[in-house]
Symmetry: C2
Subunit: 232 residues, 2 copies
């Protein structure tokens, strides 16, 4: 059964699907009376029926809750400096979403070449990845922020900074299961040593991702894999 | 110091760099007497000096061995059905190379939409990824082959088939460290049940990659991560 995005949908209610989904309904030649699955992006999945459909709107009746948003699941927050080539960041967002990430914060570091980001493009990628991988909770994309501001924000999560230096402890050995985790990943050219110092002062622990030299988008995916494997 | 590819280079020898690398030398405005690092793609890294350079050739003198190909390291062999969209396979090849893979065999399965592959394109991606991630051994890309022929080939590796079915054991729990591992990854639409049966008859064990529904290229990268983490 086809899956549609219905932000703000609440069980047992009449609901008008957003325009992007309306187009999708027409492409699939669906009609009144057809059953569809809809998700609200917060982890909830519903069974619904198309009640009215024309070129301008699609009304559905939300008949049943198929799955409720899982509460108290540990979450992964990746704060990552977007690369110069934005396609690499889109690819990271798609893969991290498939494997599992809860919050993504793009950060601007001293060595960052990219200092802005079109959030709507990344949000589109995240929504498509959720539909494809049947994840009903869309990762939150936070506004791009400076490294300095970001590391000072309070959080209950375990805090790590992935840094390309020798003799670090490996993330896999300290990323405890059933705990919220926040990992900082630096730009091409890595973090500046003053940034690493500042992170440590704010309670971050330095970690390595092993002996392979990974591109930053690969590092982000690798961290998602470690978190996924630790919480299977 | 810049890194160049010198297939067949042997220590203490005069050597002519391939044309692709000649172009690279000119772009970097290098000249006679400059020192360069060269690798042979088999795991060996050498220190060399440019002895002669013009538009048609670059002669180097290989002065020293900096690193010898690691022997007896466990290897990961991924046999994977290439997706319809070849860019997704190129991404997979790049990322698997960064994270760690030794052999890639593209396979043709019953549900495969893609039945051919331009090996030269993938080899180019693998070489670029090796240079970027400072890996001196280029993964071997084997010729595309049918699933049926492939699963009958003898190997000393632990053999797994990743299959989207419930109640499988997770690859991470059976992918023993310090062992060669071979993992089969199916096409969009997964393996046919007859293929799974045939794999089992040939000594493969079915495994899951967890509860997330992964695209096939993501599954390939995920397996590389598991192998990497198990052999840190």
């Amino acid at each position: 059964m086809n899956l549609f995005y219905a932000p703000g949908a609440v069980s047992h209610q009449h609901y008008s699907l957003p325009d992007s989904e309306l187009h999708h309904l027409h492409v699939l030649r669906m009609s009144v009376g057809d059953e569809v699955k809809v998700f609200d992006g917060l982890g909830n999945l519903f069974l619904a029926r198309i009640d009215a459909l024309d070129k301008r709107q699609a009304l559905i009746f939300v008949a049943d809750v198929l799955q409720s948003g899982a509460l108290n699941k540990p979450g992964l927050h990746l704060a990552i400096a977007p690369p110069k080539n934005i396609e690499r960041f889109e690819w990271f967002a798609e893969k991290a979403c498939e494997i599992g990430v809860d919050v993504i914060t793009p950060i601007i570091c001293k060595h960052s070449e990219r200092k802005e980001l079109r959030a709507d493009r990344i949000e589109k990628v995240l929504l498509a990845a959720c539909k494809q991988s049947l994840k009903y909770k869309i990762p939150t994309l936070r506004p791009i922020t400076s490294f300095e501001n970001f590391v000072q924000q309070p959080t209950q999560a375990l805090k790590f900074i992935a840094w390309c230096a020798d003799e670090q402890v490996h993330l896999k050995d300290v990323c405890t299961p059933r705990q919220d985790v926040l990992v900082l990943i630096g730009p091409e050219g890595d973090f500046d040593s003053a940034e690493v110092k500042q992170a440590i002062q704010n309670g971050f622990n330095t970690v390595t991702l092993g002996s392979s030299r990974l591109r930053l988008e690969t590092a982000g995916i690798f961290v998602s894999c470690i978190f996924n494997l630790n919480n299977q």
